[in-house]
């Protein structure tokens, strides 16, 4: 799969909650073709998508995967293993999930994952090309902080991943949706993007964000 092929301005979203619908809106605004699935039958989320992300195409998870090579996964973190391990084979899979006790319940494995939860996601979906992003900012930041490229004070989203080509695709997506994309290293560097991580919930410019991570690296 070449960069050109996955950059045809199509994105699939699995999960039609707060974040999934916010990313869908941003992607539609950026001129993307958006396919979105919730849990269960498509009718269940048809109204939600029609109101919150009009223009996105509602379909089943399998259909979303068939439609696109770039997929954002935004289901509750304690439920990703309910999806088939080979569902996303060969696809670029953006892990936008956060382990959040109030939503996910107490889950020691997710709470203490030493290399971050995305490493667990990658080992479950071992045939997918997992990139971690869209989980550092809140869903309302995705709505409110979007800015055109080059605008002063544009907010950055961190991107972490082992597959550099997949990372580049996700960086282009982040940029197209209205944020500077800052590559922060391999998937396990994504620990900094998670709750309790250094840059979780931090809306800063790329240089400020880089500075924060750099200072931390020096101290470590």
């Amino acid at each position: 799969m070449s960069l050109r092929e996955v950059n045809d301005r199509r994105i699939g979203i699995v999960g039609a909650g707060k974040l999934g619908t916010a990313v869908a809106r941003a992607a539609l605004d950026a001129g993307y073709d958006v396919a979105i699935a919730g849990s269960g039958p498509a009718e269940r989320i048809a109204l939600i998508v029609d109101v919150l992300a009009p223009g996105a195409r509602v379909m089943t998870t399998t259909e979303v995967v068939d439609q696109t090579d770039l997929i954002l996964l935004a289901v509750p973190a304690h439920r990703f293993r309910e999806l088939d391990r080979d569902l996303f084979a060969g696809k670029i899979l953006i892990d936008a999930m956060n382990y959040w006790e109030p939503i996910d319940g107490v889950n020691e494995e997710l709470a203490t994952a030493p290399r971050g939860t995305s490493v667990l996601v990658q080992s479950w979906f071992s045939s997918a090309r997992v990139v971690k992003s869209f989980n550092q900012l809140g869903y309302h930041d995705v709505d409110e902080d979007r800015m055109a490229r080059g605008e002063r004070g544009r907010i950055a989203m961190a991107v972490a991943g082992d597959d550099r080509e997949a990372v580049e695709v996700v960086r282009e997506l982040v940029d197209a949706l209205g944020f500077d994309a800052l590559y922060v290293g391999p998937l396990e560097a994504g620990v900094a993007l998670q709750p309790d991580g250094l840059v979780f919930g931090v809306a800063l410019t790329a240089s400020e964000l880089a500075r924060l991570l750099w200072d931390e690296a020096k101290l470590a």
Partner: protein, 363 residues
Amino acid sequence: MDMDDFEFGLDSFVVPSLDEHGEVQRGDVTIRNTVEEAVLADQVGIDSYNIAEHYREDFMDSAADVILAAIAGRTSRIRLGTAVTVLSTQDPVRIYHQFATLDAVSNGRAQLVLGRGSLTESFPLFGYDLSEYEELFEEKLDLLVRLLREQPVTWSGKYRPALVNQYLYPPLPEGHIPTWVGVGGSPQSVVRAARYGLPLMLAVIGGSPLRFKPYVELYHRALDEYGFAPRPVGMHSHGFVARTDEEAVEIQYPHWAHTWQRAANERGWRAPTLEGFRTEMERGSLYVGSPETVATKMASMIRQLGLSRFDLSYATGRVPFEQRLSTIELFGNEVIPRVKELLTDANYDPATALASVAVTPGA
């Protein structure tokens, strides 16, 4: 806009305040003070007083129904409710008993907001698994709605024993108890409120309230799809009223920062800053300032979101008792009449009105 049916409420987490020596007040004192605050709210014309539900050292609201019953005995007009009742970890049969009894002792003034709240201590405390939150809420909402709407009830579910032709006592008058569903931004929860035909309470505690506009539209569309007539939409947000904007910031900010710092430590959020506080005042969901500032912002949001109820979660954190009383007095005597005045003015334009507020410059 007709303001007769509009509900202006106050919400309390029953937070131990700092006393005159800077000491944290005892729990029992806090609870008695809360009763006094609600009595004052009744006197100054506020429509409802609503108490939350938590199980931790910084909130004394573990038994809202008991505090509300005490308030009922001292008041005659104000409606008495919750904000929110964590239904997922309660038995709907017991909720019915408690609030039907409250409705009786208060002569029909009980009301409920059901939701998840943002804290989760009740799950381990009562032996529930948070990862089953959705199933728990759905099942318990289904049962409670049935108990409130029609008896006897025959029902079976996963989380409590079945009921067969069961009557509960005391019986409730038709249409009691007004029951709202509180949501924090999950579209699925908005649709669920509509599916049960229950009014919707939006908890907006950060960012621009106007981003909830699509959720209001989603709610109305879903109501229509489920065959219900339009239902009211309300909003719950934090705020504090003082004589001037600067005084309000001076009193409220340190306590707000203390509360948010604690949340930041527990949940991995960013630390609170004065700049962030002022941004929330100016463009976000904090209603802090003089009566005019708070009324202007409230009126604007009420009009733009099409609300029928506004609950102010007043005096965030350990704000001292005297200052809590003073914010209640200003809210009842000045803010509410001013909001009504603005919203009944035929020429009122929410957008320009908000822009014209003299917003305090950043520190």
